[in-house]
Chain length 178, copies 2
DNA sequence: CAAAATTATTTCAGGCCTAAAATAATTCTG
DNA sequence: CAGAATTATTTTAGGCCTGAAATAATTTTG
């Protein structure tokens, strides 16, 4: 394809420059990642429904509350789960109705609603979490420990890259609006 | 950190056997993967909305149709996108209303609905796809080419592992029902 | 060939999720 | 301290998504 006259040093660079506007590899990577996530998520949803008659959003919300002994506000939960406040309000409504979660206004700042698991909620979550961890292990059983570590590390870099790109874009938008 | 008394050979195995029922690494891996997927998906949703006044499900559906010159059935699309038939029906309804997609019963088998992009749909998709590819490249800009390749390969193994585990489970269920 | 089984799609009820507007409480500021 | 700005949450309107039931067309089978 190319004369290859000077040497090998630029191999990677020339390859990248062959098709300047081409980013098919990134696209294929993203589609594959999405496929993996979707497969896992769908399977976990199915198992939660079949074995525990519950849903993933409810499980995720309870998982957040389980990690905090003192309770969490609606805003904290929505940030952690990367969903809107309104969504947390709605999912919590269901958990309240089932007696799994407790909600009360903070005494000092009555705007804030503090959410905690009830005793029943903690017990229920414990049972689900144990099974859940097993399911995830089953799903990743085809990877050995070094591969898991490597994948974890690469996804860490990906996460950094994403935050960077998203922040850059947000900056652009702010600048434009000013 | 470790006594390292007998030798190095069993290092990995002893480590794995230390806590037999522990699968925290897999769990952490899954949560990190989910974070990455969610970040990308949310960002793409936002950009599609801001720049093209459209949604990700609509974009994804059009992407499938764009790949096929002869059109696709509702069932084929739902399989590819890993969503329910009913969902395809609903999203297609919106695209039909906007004149981006055409739907007609197949002549030989009138149960089957064949979906194709209209000329307007193809044109609209082309513009979005170009931008979309650029966005994905931006988001993954923090990874170099070898890292992208490695991540792609590891996710390939993950995908195989997932299919295997999901099929095994489905088998179990069938056996139980028989 | 007609009834039964299968296949493709749509409809339905209900939960998730969002952005934007509304509400409510607190803090800032003149 | 009162009005203004800020902060936390809820409400609302609307789209996505699912599983299960219903509908419609085709194929199988007795």
């Amino acid at each position: 394809m190319e004369p290859t006259s000077p040497g090998l040093m630029l191999d990677r660079e020339t390859k990248a420059n062959e098709r300047p506007g081409d980013h098919k590899d990134e696209l294929r990577l993203w589609l594959r990642m999405l496929t993996c996530s979707t497969l896992i998520e769908t399977e976990i949803r199915n198992r939660l429904r079949e074995e525990f008659r519950t849903t993933l959003p409810r499980f995720d919300l309870m998982a957040q509350l389980d990690k905090s002994s003192t309770g969490m506000t609606v805003g904290e939960v929505s940030q952690r789960l990367m969903v809107s406040n309104g969504n947390v309000t709605a999912v919590v409504a269901g958990l309240l109705a089932d007696g799994l979660v407790d909600k009360r206004a903070a005494t000092q700042d009555r705007r804030v609603q503090v959410l905690t698991l009830t005793a029943q909620g903690r017990k229920s979550f414990k049972a689900m979490a144990e099974r859940h961890e097993g399911w995830i292990a089953e799903l990743f059983a085809g990877l050995d420990q070094p591969e898991i570590g490597q994948l974890f590390r690469l996804l860490g870099q990906t996460k950094t890259s994403l935050h960077r790109a998203i922040a850059a874009r947000a900056n652009e938008a702010t600048k434009g609006a000013a």
